[in-house]
């Protein structure tokens, strides 16, 4: 029997059993009972064999979460989330007996990965990519670890880093996205189950792209990933995050937190392709993707670049941001967001200029089709200290059909008269002329839309690492299937 099937059955059994007191000490259980409470938080922490300080931090976050209102300002509509109707922890197999190598991994689990197209065995070797695969909530395999260890790069599940590098985790976790930042971040802080941890030592250029594939598999299990990347002085890393999920009916909550920090002259390039189940044509099902991503350019002349291709999820609520603290530091945000059918997306970025001569670039490409609604929401904030700061923002929207919506909401706050801030925005439609021209050259309608949209997104797509770009181009075509004709 496949591990997934087992998990689903366990989940169903537990659902029928209802809530049982006293389960927290029973760490043999593979799944936490439904619902959220201090007990749930304690269960997760115990499962992970966490130090006391972390449990206390989780509990503080949980208590704070209880007092916080849901964010109301995004232009998205959905029914209130019943937090008690979700599971917060599910492991595909026993955590006590973690596999030491790929050989020890259930072959059926590996088979599932292959079906999902995760390049765990073959493609990582070909592409030279180290994969930290997250299946449900427990990381089950990390490859290329040795090669990374040789140069001193730490790349492991965050649950492992908590055990092996507690000082780094304790110092930085929550320092960029505090638990009280917003309700979703607070929830994540309380119940995060796993994620990735990366540390690049001084002067090291990470020898390969680091890649983590997130998947949601168990029925009705919210996922709360937490990622922390630290780039020490003069180091460089490119990190890829890709997501797909199999079709399902239940709404699923996903509230991830990603924290990045760069010291002097360091650079982090963070690329995402997000392709979670968006729901059906009537908007049933689909993932709620409420993500808090923030990078701190702490050091002088350091750089953080976010690139995202967002095609999935029923609702996307996501603003990867940069705090430009170090003098001369650089923040970049390149985004393609596609919404089709009934999808809703409210996404953008925040660039906070604190240091002198800090620079930021924002390029946002929004494509809306079907009855979808999409908003770019961005903040460029220049503090009084940010002498000579520069920002350039470009927001382009492309509409397909006449029932979709695109909105641009740029906020600009500038407290330094030497700063320069530029904002450009355009809205266009795919014209009948363009479509007919492509058809006349033999392209099908879907090929034509894919070609035109990929052209529209080109500035962003070219910032993606090569192997990701090809996948993302295909994804754009697939996401817009059935949007014309």
């Amino acid at each position: 029997m496949a591990a997934t099937t087992e998990t689903v059955e366990q989940v169903q059994t537990l659902a029928n059993d209802g809530y049982k007191h006293g389960f927290v000490t029973d760490i043999e259980m593979e799944t936490a009972p439904k619902g959220l409470s201090e007990d749930t938080v304690r269960f997760i922490s115990a499962k992970k064999n966490e130090p006391e300080w972390l449990l206390e931090w989780r509990l503080t976050a949980y208590r704070h979460w209880l007092t916080m209102p849901e964010p109301q300002w995004a232009k998205v509509k959905f029914d209130p989330i019943d937090y008690q109707d979700s599971y917060y922890y599910a492991a595909p197999k026993s955590d006590d007996d973690r596999p030491k190598s790929l050989d020890e991994i259930d072959p059926k689990l590996l088979e599932t990965y292959k079906k999902l197209g995760i390049p765990l065995l073959e493609q990582e070797l070909l592409a030279g990519v180290a994969v930290d695969a997250v299946f449900d909530s427990v990381s089950v395999a990390t490859t290329y670890k040795k090669k990374l260890e040789e140069v001193g790069v730490i790349f492991c599940p965050i649950s492992e880093a908590i055990q092996t590098h507690p000082e780094l985790v304790r110092q930085y976790m929550g320092s960029i996205v505090p638990y009280g930042d917003n309700k979703h971040a607070a929830l994540n802080s309380a119940v995060f189950t796993d994620g990735s941890f990366v540390y690049i030592p001084k002067g090291v250029r990470c020898p390969m792209e680091l890649s983590t594939y997130f998947r949601i598999n168990a029925e009705n299990t919210g996922q709360f990933e937490r990622t922390l990347i630290i780039a020490d002085e003069g180091s460089y890393v490119s990190y890829l995050e890709g997501c797909t999920a199999p079709q399902r009916d239940e709404h699923q909550l996903h509230a991830a937190v990603v924290e990045l920090i760069t010291m002097d002259d360091a650079e982090i390039k963070y690329s995402t392709v997000q392709n979670w189940y968006p729901g059906d044509e009537e908007g049933r099902g689909g993932i709620y993707n409420f993500v808090t991503k923030r990078g701190l350019c702490r050091g002088r002349n350091s750089k953080i670049a976010w690139t995202q291709v967002e095609t999935g999820s029923a609702i996307t609520w996501k603003y990867p941001s940069c705090v430009l603290e170090g003098d001369g530091s650089i923040g970049e945000f390149y985004s393609v967001a596609i919404t089709n059918n009934m999808q809703q997306a409210d996404t953008g970025t925040k660039m906070i200029h604190i240091g002198k001569n800090t620079r930021s670039t924002i390029v946002s490409k929004g494509i809306s089709a079907g009855r979808a609604d999409q908003t770019y929401r961005g903040l460029v904030k220049i503090l009084a200290s940010a002498e000579g700061a520069q920002n350039h923002t470009q927001c382009d929207s492309l509409l397909i059909g006449d029932q979709c919506g695109a909105h641009t909401v740029p906020y600009i706050e500038c407290a330094n008269p030497t700063a320069s801030v530029a904002h450009e925005a355009t809205t266009a439609k795919i014209s009948d002329e363009q479509l007919f021209y492509c058809l006349q050259r033999g392209l099908s309608e879907e090929e034509a839309v894919s070609l035109i949209v990929n052209g529209f997104c080109k500035e962003v797509m070219k910032t993606l690492p090569m192997e990701f770009a090809v996948e993302a181009q295909k994804l754009i075509g697939i996401s817009l299937e059935g949007s014309v004709g």
Binding site: E433, Y437, L439, Q440, S444, E447, L451, G455, F456, K458
Partner: protein, 252 residues
């Protein structure tokens, strides 16, 4: 068997009848020219043949290469070897001319049940054809028709024809907006494409283009009908007497 056989073709745009009974037969290898004043229905005819949305055939039939052309979707018509050179080529930002040509060629090759060309094969294939039309690598790297001059756009249309190797090429006012040098380059490109199998339908307002591309047949289109057909001397007669001499005679 004729390559194209248009019978009593009537077509409307937005409920208004534009084509009012066109009859036209094109044999393999023939070059036909259709001339006519503005608003006579020349472009409508080209769009109807290519299958553009909004151009509704109300009566008549079109046989192409042994099949009912009107039953095919626009991309199927392209796949079957029908090419339309646009009067106003369309801009597609962000899509390089090279990428567009490759996508189009491989789409058409799929209809012909041929294998797609890979990047290297395609580069060689397109460069051979581009050289003939003075299309530089720089032009191939630029976004399709974006910022192209009028002459570059028309040369690009002919390059697309050369790449796709159609059986029937309909060229809609390919000469408009061209200076004499550009006109010669375009005409040479078209002439180089003439084969005993390939037919062309050249739509033009002026006789000028026909100095460089010799048609086998010339038709005069006015008010949605072909009023006269003849050899290339008809084009010269039009040049001399003007359209009024023919359309006026019809009215009287």
């Amino acid at each position: 068997m004729a390559l194209l056989e248009v019978k009593n073709l009537h077509a409307s745009v937005g409920g208004k009848e534009i084509l009012k009974g066109i009859d036209l037969v094109i044999e393999p290898g023939e070059v036909h020219a259709i001339m006519g004043p503005n608003g006579s229905g020349k472009s409508t005819l080209s769009y109807v043949l290519a299958g553009r949305d909004g151009y509704e055939v109300t009566e008549g039939s079109v046989q192409y290469d042994g099949q009912d052309l009107l039953a095919l979707a626009p991309d199927e018509r392209a796949g079957a070897g029908l090419f339309l050179g646009f009067q106003y080529p369309v801009e597609i930002p962000g899509v390089t001319t090279m990428n567009f040509l490759k996508t189009a060629l491989n789409a058409v090759r799929q209809y012909r049940e041929e294998k797609p060309l890979d990047a290297m094969q395609f580069l060689k294939y397109v460069r051979e054809r581009a050289a003939m039309l003075n299309v530089t690598d720089d032009m191939l790297r630029r976004a399709l028709n974006v910022g192209f001059s009028g002459g570059e756009k028309k040369r690009n249309e002919i390059l697309q024809m050369a790449v796709l190797e159609p059986t029937l090429a309909v060229l809609d006012e390919t000469d408009s907006g061209l200076d004499i040098d550009a006109l010669k380059v375009v005409a040479e490109g078209v002439n180089a494409m003439r084969t005993p199998e390939r037919s062309m339908l050249i739509i033009t307002h002026y006789q000028r283009l026909l100095d460089y591309i010799q048609p086998d047949h010339v038709h005069v289109l006015a008010n949605g009908r072909i009023l006269r057909s003849g050899g290339k001397e008809l084009a010269l007669e039009l040049e001399e007497k003007g359209y009024g001499a023919i359309t006026g005679a019809e009215a009287a």
